[in-house]
């Protein structure tokens, strides 16, 4: 097993684990964490799997770079919304997840 393949597998584990976290957590900030870890796992799979057996590939790396920026945008947006939501409702979870 080479490093690329290995990191792809790590990505798989990260993705599955974070997905579990995403689905089970109700605290929105924790979900955001999970989202970011999932994203990380996905990026690892994208780059690792593409490079597995073929050597470095700038294209998936560029894609991941874009993906990172998108992810941070999404995270920031989510935090903004969450903070506004918290200000209004004193709650950090969605209404249906409360109680």
């Amino acid at each position: 097993m080479n490093a690329d393949r290995l990191y792809a597998y790590v990505g798989v584990v990260l993705f599955a684990m974070a997905m579990y976290a995403f689905l089970t957590h109700t605290h929105l900030l924790r979900r955001l964490l999970a989202f970011n870890v999932m994203g990380g796992g996905t990026f690892l799979i994208l780059v690792g799997l593409a490079q597995d057996g073929r050597g470095p590939d700038p294209v998936p790396q560029a894609l991941v770079l874009t993906g990172i920026v998108v992810a941070v945008s999404a995270t920031a947006l989510a935090i903004i919304l969450l903070r506004r939501w918290f200000a209004l409702s004193r709650s950090t979870a969605l209404p249906e997840d409360q109680s």
């Binding site: 393949r5 792809a8 597998y9 798989v12 584990v13 993705f15 599955a16 684990m17 997905m19 579990y20 689905l23 089970t24 799979i45 799997l49 057996g53 073929r54 050597g55 470095p56 590939d57 700038p58 294209v59 790396q61 560029a62 894609l63 770079l65 874009t66 990172i68 920026v69 998108v70 941070v72 945008s73 999404a74 920031a76 947006l77 935090i79 903004i80 919304l81 903070r83 506004r84 918290f86 200000a87 209004l88 004193r90």
Partner: protein
Amino acid sequence: MRRRVARHAVAGVASVAVGIALWQAIGVRSIPTVSLPALVREAMPASGVSHDITAVLLNFRSYDTLLEIAVLLAAAVVALALRDTPRERMPASQPYLILDTFVWRITPLLVLVAAYLLWAGSTRPGGAFQAGSVLAGAAVLLRLSGLAVLSVDDRLASRVVVVFGLSVFLLVAAGTLLAGQPLLAYPPAWAGALILMIEAALTLSIAVVLFSLFDNAPQSRPAAAPAQRGEA
């Protein structure tokens, strides 16, 4: 409670299923016939830059980048829209001496690093995103330390900076189109310069936007007079 258990159980099963499926699929995959790296290598000379990732980001797949900047802008706009009205804003955090000193010392360094990253982008690892985020990090530190009251708010100047990178990008894009070329098809001779120009503009905007996302995050004050609309 039962729902909670179910939630965990189902999430576990689903995650494991996805994991196993991925694991197995990765195991049996075959090597593709198409090789983009080769194509990238072939096209590098015409790209205007010597670093392949920058070439992909700002030349071969520059359209992705354009949209990505738009994504960033979308987040920034929402931040601006949901930002507290001035009287809701809390005063900056209390200054801490150690942090102060640290920040004061490190900020110029970070600016330098950013400039280097931007410049390096065309030849080796680095580029607008990294540079922008370093700058943004510096601004965040300044903001946290309360040393400089930086703020990206509703003022026209702020907004101009926010859209500056995208504007330049767009102007170039429109220019290529008006020249009868495909979108963002830089003339080979100008490619390097144009990319650098775009990157520079983007660096500024990315930095400001990332900072604004931090800066404009609403305070958690109970909604006294929130900037709501529609239901006001």
